[in-house]
């Protein structure tokens, strides 16, 4: 969840290779006066990867059980909501590095491309195909092309929720974040 450390120039002595290089929680300066709760912040960070995994599970389970791209995307979005509630915009920025509009666009593009690809093979738009593969460890694996449409929906929903947090959430943070950062970005 923290930043990659590849840009460290000095080689790290082996005695310190597992010492933390970043602060795990935010410093007080970074969180812009957001009311902090240590318990919530730590729990959010611990739960976050698990919730994301659940969302991916829902995405793939959708074909046979309750779930699907929409529900999965919402669960992933709620994971980011949790991070945001714990630490405000700074915490959200730590959780996701990609600009949310890019995620929205990627999702929509994936869905549209999935819709159009069958036309290249002379099928009608949005026709779907399925293959059954034998994967050594997992056993029989069935892949339907409409899964990609579902992934597109998933990405788009995640993007929409994070974008919502970025704008509506940050926009109501008593104007603190907006004056410094958002205004420059727009």
């Amino acid at each position: 969840m923290t930043a990659g450390q590849d840009d460290q120039e000095q080689p790290v002595p082996w005695t310190q290779w597992d010492a933390p290089r970043d602060r795990w929680l935010m410093s007080d300066d970074a969180c812009n006066g957001w009311p902090r709760s240590l318990l919530l912040e730590v729990c959010a960070r611990i739960v976050f990867p698990t919730v994301l995994m659940v969302s991916v599970y829902l995405l793939f389970a959708g074909h046979h059980d309750a779930g699907g791209g929409f529900s999965g995307g919402l669960v992933a979005g709620l994971a980011f909501v949790l991070r945001y509630m714990a630490g405000g915009s700074a915490e959200l920025a730590a959780a996701i590095r990609i600009h949310p509009p890019v995620v929205i666009g990627a999702g929509l593009t994936l869905a549209v491309v999935t819709a159009l690809v069958p036309a290249l093979f002379g099928e009608t738009v949005l026709a779907s195909a399925q293959w059954t593969l034998d994967v050594p460890v997992l056993g029989e694996l069935k892949i339907a092309t409409n899964l990609f449409l579902d992934i597109g929906v998933y990405l788009l929903i995640v993007g929409v929720v994070v974008d919502l947090l970025r704008t509506v959430g940050a926009g109501t943070e008593k104007g603190v974040m907006l004056d410094d950062e958002e205004v420059e970005r727009t």
Partner: protein
């Protein structure tokens, strides 16, 4: 001929590149397309005039019966002679006319070539949809060419007027064409004309089509756009507003006249407005001092004449019309090109300033004289030939025709007078003015004037060529072909005598005009003046749109929601009242579990209304949502319930974020809120009851058992989509197109909401910088202010999400 149309359009796309590299040579390159088309059309003359005109067809969207069909018959050939012949001449002329560093070369050469292609498509099209497409393409080209670079108010105003008038007429025409095509059961023009439908729908269709033709051909009361369009460069005016585009209306009427000639709703407006236009245009031409505007009013007048002849609707009148269409295109383009030379060499077009040009430029004066004499109907030119036939057509008819004859004669007297006025104004040597200094016009430009002018002299003697062409069109009329032949000399007949009288009277009017015209002008009362009518119409439209937008887009969230709810109740509610079927028996519940959940939802709803704090209200709304999710579970809709819970959670979080910025309590004390509280309550209650009733009625109207669609979905889900979860199979496969549409809406809504918030944040931070606005909240009205609206925009996307789920 399809390839010719395509060649024009492709060439037009390439011309900007050519113009960038080689400058004004682009005009010559552009001229290649119409010139080649003309040659190609001439080689096909025999087939076009034969009994079975060649047709070509390209399926465009075959599934819905859309195709692009061309039919190359006599009328098309006549129009192609004008469109492509004059087009090639004008483009060549433009090459000599344009300055080497003219910045508009790329634009105008491409637009003119595209226009030539569109016009070609228009006169060849045999199905009404492509006819309309080309029709509007010519309108757009005209708008762009008249507007030019749009740097002056006059350019913009003239271009807008041309666009508004012709495009609104075009829309009416589209409606008429569709009505006609539906009534006839075919969209092929040739089939409609061969077997015209009848009935009141067809009458309405004919009137609508006429509206398109009359606006395009600048007939009263729509004519003012044409003189206004004279702000365009002269070659453009010569082509679009004299020879080609304004003929489109005449062409349309000529195309449909064989089918509708006997329909009173068709010919009465044509002859009345046509005559009025002919006389009015002639009169106005006598008042103008600008040579180009003079010619423009002359064009208006001539178009009226052509319309009248079409309204008469006999074989001879059609013969006259076809001849005059050709004649008018030739002489009017020659005259416009002459004006272009005069304007370019002397810098003025005002006949009060021009003097001595005839002596200085004898060759040009001769060519212009040829064209002017053709316009006046002087033997032995093409204009005379056409007018002879026209008089012949009207002379031997009934009382109505004789009445028309009188009108046409008056109009022709005006024509002779303004023709002479043009000629003397442009070329004579005035006693009271110094001869205007000017260099010789180039050979190239003069040649381009000479070509159409000399064609007008040669064609009357080549009746063997001309007769089959114009008679080919006239043969389309049902009336039997009389024994009349084109010719310059029929002996001393009525028309010849009449022509002589018209010429004499015209000369008299020309001499009397300087005294007579100022006395007569201005007699039209203000409200009837066409230009004023146009201005008032546009102002009225703007007033209406201001009024409607001002009322509906008041900027208040409660107003928006109120409008939506009222419409929702009134429109489907009205339909419901008309044919409602109450269910026989109402079940109160299916499972005991539903009871406590329903009670929870209802109780939460009532408490929301009573809540004093915003946070309480939001949480209670959430309780309603969760309760409904639980009801879904009871009914076994696990997918639905999952999505409902997730959306509800997200909505709740967003609400909580937003109401941090609001006062904790609802505003209650203010008087003005209490005033319309009852209205709001009434609308809410009625809308809620309506939704509840509709829900009961809709679910009761289902057939017992599972609908066929559901059964099919369930059967095919595993095999076709690889998903055993039917809900998911529907979302990602069976109705995947809906899904894509919905996520696209979601993306747009999210982007829009983000932009709103960020834009507001920017303006807020800008406010904060200014010292006089220290309290941002002060300027916000308590009810329906901007943060609330933003939330409204945001939450408006939630139903979209829910729609996807509920499907």
């Amino acid at each position: 001929m399809l390839i010719a149309i395509a060649a024009h359009l492709v060439l037009a796309a390439l011309l900007p590149l050519i113009a960038r590299r080689w400058g004004k040579v682009a005009f010559l390159v552009g001229a290649l397309a119409p010139a080649a088309t003309l040659g190609y059309a001439l080689t096909g003359t025999g087939r076009a005039l034969g009994g079975d005109p060649p047709a070509e067809s390209v399926a465009w969207a075959p599934d819905i019966g859309l195709e692009f069909t061309t039919r190359f018959d006599a009328l098309s050939l006549i129009m192609i002679l004008l469109v492509s012949g004059i087009g090639a001449v004008v483009l060549c002329y433009y090459f000599f006319y344009a300055k080497p560093d003219d910045p508009s070369t790329a634009r105008n050469s491409a637009l003119l070539t595209m226009f030539a292609g569109a016009m070609l498509g228009l006169v060849l099209a045999d199905d009404i949809i492509s006819l309309y497409l080309f029709w509007e393409l010519t309108t757009v080209c005209s708008f762009l060419l008249v507007g030019g670079d749009g740097t002056t108010k006059k350019l913009r105003r003239s271009a807008t007027q041309a666009l508004l008038v012709t495009a609104s007429g075009g829309l009416a025409m589209l409606l008429g064409l569709i009505l006609l095509g539906t009534a006839a059961g075919t969209f092929r023009i040739s089939e409609i004309i061969a077997d015209p439908p009848s009935g009141s729908v067809v009458t309405a269709a004919a009137l609508l089509i006429l509206l398109g033709a009359l606006t395009k051909s600048a007939q009263v009361p729509f004519h003012p756009w044409l003189p206004g369009a004279m702000v365009a460069p002269t070659p453009v005016s010569a082509y679009l507003h004299a020879a080609a585009m304004v003929k489109a209306g005449v062409y349309l009427v000529a195309r449909f006249a064989p089918a509708f000639a006997d329909l009173p709703a068709w010919w009465i407006p044509i002859v009345v407005l046509g005559l009025w236009t002919m006389v009015l245009g002639g009169f106005r031409a006598l008042r103008e001092h600008d040579l180009k505007t003079l010619l423009a009013y002359g064009t208006v007048s001539q178009l009226g004449f052509l319309m009248v002849l079409l309204g008469v609707g006999t074989w001879i009148s059609a013969l006259a019309d076809a001849t005059l269409i050709l004649a008018h295109g030739l002489f009017k383009s020659a005259l416009f090109l002459t004006v272009g030379i005069i304007d370019k060499r002397t810098g003025t077009r005002d006949i009060r300033e021009l003097s001595g040009l005839g002596r200085r430029w004898p060759m040009l004066a001769i060519f212009a004289t040829l064209a002017v004499l053709s316009m006046a109907g002087f033997p032995p030119l093409l204009g005379f030939l056409g007018k002879e036939v026209a008089l012949e057509a009207l002379l031997h008819g009934d009382a109505k025709d004789l009445l028309l004859l009188a009108g046409v004669a008056i109009g022709s007297v005006f024509t002779v007078a303004y023709s002479l006025r043009f000629l003397t104004g442009a070329f004579r040597t005035r006693k009271d003015a110094e001869p205007i200094p000017a260099t010789q016009p180039g050979v190239g430009m003069s040649t381009m004037v000479a070509l159409p002018a000399i064609a007008g002299l040669v064609l009357p003697f080549a009746t063997t060529v001309l007769e089959p062409l114009v008679a080919g069109y006239a043969d389309g009329y049902v009336a039997r072909r009389p024994s009349y032949e084109l010719g310059l000399w029929h002996g001393i007949t009525g028309p010849l005598v009449l022509s002589a009288v018209i010429l004499l009277l015209g000369y008299g009017l020309f001499r009397a005009a300087p005294v007579l015209v100022p006395k007569l002008s201005g007699w039209v009362p203000g409200p009837l003046q066409a230009q004023r009518g146009y201005r008032y119409s546009v102002a009225g439209l703007e007033w209406v749109s201001h009024a409607v937008t001002g009322r509906l887009q008041a900027g208040s969230l409660p107003t928006y929601i109120g409008v939506i709810l009222v419409v929702m109740v009134l429109v489907p509610g009205g339909g419901l009242l008309a044919g409602v079927e109450w269910p026989d028996e109402l079940r109160w519940f299916d499972s005991w579990l539903q009871l406590p959940l329903a009670i929870l939802v209802v109780a939460a709803t009532f408490t929301v209304v009573l809540a004093r704090r915003r946070l309480t209200a939001v949480l209670l709304t959430g309780a309603v949502g969760y309760g409904i999710g639980a009801l879904f579970i009871v009914d076994g809709g696990s997918d639905l319930a999952l999505a409902q819970f997730l959306v509800e959670t997200l909505t709740l979080v967003v609400f909580v974020f937003v109401i941090r910025r609001f006062p904790p309590r609802f505003i209650e004390e203010r008087h003005f809120i209490r005033k319309d509280r009852w209205i709001k309550a009434g609308i809410s209650v009625v809308a809620g009851l309506f939704v509840a009733v509709v829900a009961v009625l809709v679910s009761a109207s289902r057939e017992p058992g599972m609908p066929a669609a559901s059964t099919a979905y369930i059967e095919n889900a595993e095999a076709e989509t690889g998903a055993s979860n039917v809900v998911n199979a529907i979302i990602v496969d069976f109705r995947a197109f809906d899904t894509i549409g919905e996520i696209a809406v979601l993306a747009v809504a999210a982007t829009g909401a983000a932009s709103l918030v960020l834009a507001r944040a920017r303006s807020r931070s800008a406010h904060r910088d200014s010292p006089d606005d220290d309290q941002a909240g002060r300027s916000e009205p308590p009810d329906g202010d901007s943060p609330e609206s933003t939330v409204g925009a945001r939450t408006a996307t939630e139903p979209t999400e829910a729609t996807e789920v509920n499907r």
